[in-house]
């Protein structure tokens, strides 16, 4: 287990290096910046000072090394637009909100997706299955920003059951719309994969044995079926995390949640390149970590899997 973990962590280094290089080059190749203002151009002297301050006149390789060195020490550079905070402070302020929302969305996805997929498999080819399939089709085809706007329109604007946006922590009703909007697609993805894998498992001999020895139907499905059907589910969880991250860009913007996703969007439109670069790295780290956790969780779900 320890050796496996070390190997995986070492393998993550080249991936991160390439992500960093790619993002760095892209950000530095992009012409223009936040100081390009067609109506009120900055004085050349001011521009020169700004460039000197942010080391933009140094050769590219020097900037590349400098940023990397600082990043390893936890300093992610300044924000071009938000001069009162550096990028590390911005992440500390905005990231926890997105973490909470993302976790809530994942919990929602698991809590609805697994029962939905189980019911669809157990009641295969009945109206219940077709209804579940219908929900899955909606989840696959409708992007989260459309889902968010529709939810806000129906539940906030028309019915007045919920506020249209904002954020007051996990225990406030404001969390509901963004949570469902982000978690809906992951929930349907889970349901779809679970249905397929459960259908396979339910045809196995040990299920027949369990039924034959007189176990109650629900117990057979949950204890013997779902548990064994979960392995393929772990595989898709990596995609789900990516879904939750990119979902936060749109949904946080629409529902005015002050999270890192919304900040990322502001940074793209404000051409705040250091923030873009740092956040791209942050998202890559999260994805790689989650994929690693998923692989490790196989061992918990499936005792046949041993890491050596």
């Amino acid at each position: 287990m320890g050796a496996y973990l070390t190997r995986r962590l070492l393998l993550a280094i080249p991936t991160m290096a390439i992500v960093y290089t790619l993002a760095f080059l892209l950000v530095h190749a992009t012409p223009g910046g936040p100081w390009d203002n067609a109506e009120k151009p900055l004085a050349p002297q001011v521009l020169a000072n700004l460039k000197a301050k942010y080391h933009l006149d140094d050769p590219l390789w020097k900037q590349y090394v400098l940023y990397l060195g600082n990043a390893v020490h936890g300093s992610l550079g300044p924000s071009y637009v938000n001069t009162s905070q550096d990028v590390a402070e911005i992440i500390r302020e905005f990231f926890p909100v997105s973490m909470q929302l993302g976790a809530a969305a994942m919990v929602f996805a698991i809590a609805t997706g697994i029962p939905l997929g189980t019911l669809a498999a157990v009641y295969r080819n009945t109206p219940l299955d077709y209804a579940a399939t219908g929900i899955v089709v909606i989840g696959i085809s409708i992007p989260n920003y459309v889902m968010a706007t529709l939810l806000v329109t129906v539940f906030a604007v028309l019915l007045h059951w919920l506020p249209t946006g904002g954020w007051r922590g996990l225990l406030d009703a404001r969390v509901l719309i963004p949570m469902v909007a982000i978690g809906f697609r992951p929930a349907t993805t889970l349901a779809r994969y679970l249905r397929a894998s459960l259908l396979e498992v339910l045809h196995q001999d040990y299920i027949r044995t369990a039924r034959a020895k007189g176990l109650a139907g629900s117990r057979v499905v949950v204890r013997h079926g779902v548990r064994n059907a979960l392995t393929p589910i772990a595989t898709v969880s990596g995609f789900l995390v990516a879904d939750v991250i990119t979902g936060s860009f749109f949904v946080e913007t629409i529902t005015r949640v002050p999270g890192i996703g919304r900040y990322f969007v502001t940074a793209t439109t404000g051409r705040d390149y250091p923030v873009l670069l740092a956040l791209a790295l942050l998202f890559a780290v999260i994805i790689i970590t989650m994929n690693l956790l998923v692989d490790l969780s196989y061992a918990l779900i499936d005792p046949q899997v041993r890491y050596t």
Binding site: T15, V137, T149, L150, I245, T246, V265, R271, F283, N291
Partner: protein, 318 residues
């Protein structure tokens, strides 16, 4: 006596079979009816997109600041937006952006991805190794994040091209209101996925008997690839293409929603949703209209894809 009860039992089983077969046929029929419905809707959207300058009642950028936020009436069937522009006309022109991005990006990723994947899977070697490394790395980054970064680059880079061999790209981008940049960013990442699938298919087929037979009869590698592999991977590739079109449409509307897509005043359903969100509390119809049209288009594409899958690959019964 015994035989007659057996016969009865057999008949009962057959009746059950028939009923189950009938029910399955019904379910399949229902699926295909949705596919037909979706195809009809898509035909309308495509026709409107192609004929937008003729059928749209107004131009997409015609402002009327004296009648902003007008409710739907005879003059403006879907009302007007914050600048007094006709919402129906903008939806029609928006269909142009969505459809052209979806189709153009899909065409490009197929043209690049299928040959690359085919060659990598069939011959293996360095090309295959490089392809798989790139795929591995790109899979560690969310697709949309990568596209957002690329698009941030292209929206600033393309208009800045003043001379050189890429000037035509700038002109194309300007003429299409930014569509060229989106197609470029989407296909630059998207072709990898197609290549991966084509590679997997080629890998699975290259040791099959019919390929070996063709080779032992003296067929050239070129002939094997073109006449034996390509037709055999056509079905999974077509099925994949039906999923690519909606994913590109989703990405385009998403980028435009973020302000990284088409350049205003060119209308895109994504921009219309973003604009509508600003006034969602007073005029929800401004966000509902593009959201519904986009959702209906995506659902239709999905149903058509399902129908095609059933038609092309009968073994994939769910």
């Amino acid at each position: 006596m015994a035989s007659s009860s057996l016969l009865e039992a057999g008949a009962a089983v057959r009746r059950g079979d028939a009923r189950r077969g009938y029910r399955r046929a019904l379910a399949r029929f229902a699926r295909h009816r949705m596919a037909a419905l979706g195809a009809a809707f898509l035909a309308v959207v495509l026709a409107v997109a192609a004929a937008a300058p003729v059928v749209a009642p107004y131009r997409y950028d015609k402002q009327d600041l004296l009648s902003t936020y007008e409710a739907p009436d005879a003059g403006h069937l879907a009302g007007t937006d914050a600048l007094g522009r006709d919402v129906l006309s903008r939806l029609m022109y928006g269909a142009r952006v969505s459809m052209s991005v979806g189709l153009a990006a899909t065409a490009i990723v197929l043209l690049v991805g299928v040959p690359t994947g085919l060659l990598a899977g069939y011959f293996g070697g360095t090309l295959d190794l490089m392809l798989m490394r790139v795929v591995d790395i790109v899979y560690a980054i969310p697709y949309l994040l990568l596209v957002v970064l690329l698009q941030t680059f292209f929206t600033a880079f393309l208009p800045a091209i003043r001379a050189g061999p890429l000037v035509w790209l700038r002109a194309l981008n300007q003429a299409t209101g930014g569509v060229a940049a989106i197609v470029l960013a989407l296909s630059l990442v998207g072709w990898l996925d197609v290549a991966r699938v084509a590679r997997g298919q080629a890998l699975a087929l290259r040791h099959r008997e019919f390929v070996q037979a063709a080779k032992s009869l003296g067929a050239s590698e070129k002939h094997v690839l073109a006449a034996h592999l390509l037709p055999n991977i056509a079905a999974p590739i077509i099925i994949m293409a039906t999923l690519l079109v909606p994913s590109f449409i989703i990405a385009e509307a998403g980028l435009s929603f973020l302000g990284l897509g088409v350049q205003p005043p060119t209308p895109s359903w994504g921009i219309m949703i973003a604009d509508g969100v600003d006034a969602i509390e007073s005029y929800p119809r401004l966000v509902i209209a593009p959201a519904i049209v986009l959702a209906a288009t995506l659902l239709s594409l999905n149903f058509v894809g399902d129908g095609l899958r059933d038609a092309l690959d009968p073994s994939s019964e769910r």
